[in-house]
Symmetry: C2
Subunit: 341 residues, 2 copies
């Protein structure tokens, strides 16, 4: 037979379909002896439950969805998503839950995707990333009544669960370190200005600047691309009194910035210190290697998956903070000596 069904198993075992279902799902209703016999037969026939049939009766699809609203280009070399994906996978697959992936152009398309997934009963839950300042997805997802977990979004975010890191503390740790080295003019090449974590980081920098009485502490928003990262760096280094340190919101932009410094003859770290807000092999491969904030994105993915599965199982939503990333000091930071010295 091409594909065994529980009816085949029932026939082989001389019992009813119902008994087979009970046995295979570990529910009461059959004797231990019968259960073992049924399990043996199922294994012999190489039976697997038909996911559609199961989903049609029970409410569960055993799949969760992740939609990314980023054009393909900017997804590029960011290791964040692959790391996050791997972490999500690792946990989901141990629970036999599949991951549906969708890459869309913008937030509107992302919401449309969620609508369709909900309407078609394709997923049991959602993973949301790149939380925006007033994120329209939150209301949309809540309206769909789909369990969801927000990755990276901090604090109170409606009735959805979240797993996040403290971007403010992270930025403060960078600024404090740079200030301790003697830097008083610090620039910040940030990501998309609408993202919640971009705002938090920029605000933290401003706050630290006034507290530490830094002479300069500006944030320049970009679209996270290497091109804009490079352009921002050129603008910054062309100023009459350029900063002695630059903090980049992503490692790709930090590497691009390092390239611009080389191109403009600015020595790193002697004349300019560079810090990346994100870490990956990328930062270790350059010369000099970049000082960067190290966080465990893989573990973040695992945690997010665990949280999502819990919410799907009916657990109350939770707001889970992840350890603040720590600064890994490499070769791109040093006390400022300046060209003028």
């Amino acid at each position: 037979m091409s594909r065994p069904t529980i009816a085949d198993i029932a026939a082989a075992a001389g019992v009813s379909k119902g008994a087979v279902s009970f046995a295979l799902n570990g529910r009461p209703g059959v004797s231990e002896q019968t259960r073992q016999r049924i399990l043996r037969i199922a294994a012999d026939l190489d039976w697997h439950p038909h996911s559609a049939a199961r989903a049609l009766s029970g409410a569960r699809t055993h799949a969760v969805g992740l939609a990314l609203a980023r054009p393909a280009r900017t997804l590029g070399i960011e290791p964040f998503f692959t790391q996050l994906l791997s972490g999500l996978q690792a946990t989901l697959s141990t629970h036999s839950v599949a991951l549906q992936l969708m890459i869309v152009e913008d937030t509107a398309a992302e919401i449309a995707t969620y609508r369709r997934w909900a309407g078609e009963h394709r997923v049991d839950g959602l993973v949301l990333v790149d939380l925006q300042a007033r994120d329209p997805r939150l209301d949309a997802v809540e309206a769909l009544k789909l369990p969801a977990v927000i990755v990276g979004g901090a604090g109170r975010v409606g009735e959805l669960s979240s797993v996040w890191v403290d971007d403010r503390e992270a930025m403060l740790s960078i600024v404090n370190y740079l200030a301790a080295l003697g830097h008083a003019r610090i620039a910040h090449v940030s990501g998309l200005p609408d993202l919640q974590h971009t705002r938090r980081r920029s605000r933290a920098l401003r706050d630290a600047a006034s507290k530490l009485q830094l002479a300069q502490a500006d944030s320049l928003p970009t679209d996270f691309s290497d091109a804009e990262g490079a352009a921002a760096t050129r603008a910054i280094l062309s100023a009459s009194e350029p900063p002695t340190a630059i903090v980049y919101d992503s490692d790709v932009m930090a590497v691009a910035g390092l390239g611009v410094a080389a191109e403009m003859g600015v020595a790193v770290p002697r004349e300019l210190s560079i810090v990346s807000f994100d870490d990956s092999t990328l930062t270790q491969v350059t010369h000099p290697a970049l000082t960067a904030l190290t966080r465990d994105t893989y573990a973040l993915g695992e945690r997010a998956a665990t949280e999502l599965l819990a919410v799907i199982d009916g657990d109350p939503t939770a707001n889970h903070q992840f350890p603040t990333p720590t600064l890994t000091v490499r070769e791109s930071t040093a006390p400022p000596t300046g060209r003028g010295h």
Copy 2:
């Protein structure tokens, strides 16, 4: 009502379920007038087909699967997968086909995943990447009778479709260019030795070397990681008579190699030319920017998806060659001048 079904539509329209099904699927069996009325009502009720119900009757799941047998770490910053994913997505989503993603540890786990997907009827087809020399997945997938498309695997590969680029021609174009510049000692830092394309590239280099009578043309296999790429570069540059050009199988390794050259005081491109077999923003961000083979991985993904959908629709399998990548010359290649000169 919580979720409209075709029975609700049928009741509202005063027709039978069958008529509704015909109307919604654009099949004959209802008058144009009735069809329009039914479509109106379906739209009003915000009806979406229940994917599980549809999959249970019809044979189609409207989902395809992609399993990656790579540990999370090596997935890292390779832009290849995100680009490929984006391309696959773009085409799949226009056909309302979902993509199931699975990241597993090794080939055995990958095959097990395919078995499970097939058994559970979770996917209509598969995308296979990283074709190996004698790939056990081919037999396994053929045995499962699942439509599949092989990405990157060349030539005759059993009864499965494939979409591939000519790695041999690509390597030859690099070697010819380097030889034309005057390089006679070329090293090749390659990827995993079991991968089919690694072998093709290494063989092409050997063939070109004997044809062009190069003094040196060795391939050093690595695991694609930046660490092994850096280590291989150190070994190569430490030789008594080091090569004047190095070809790297991935951009990550090329960047790592560039870092090692800087660390060892070897000037690029004056003393050493560097070519990357793969291109991405990464190669443009370094200083000097890297000469690299440019291929359109996104388009490759689109093509693979198109091919897979065709095979799922019953089209005969096809072997589709993609344009050979072209060399984008940047700042990392120049005629050899050598330290000894």
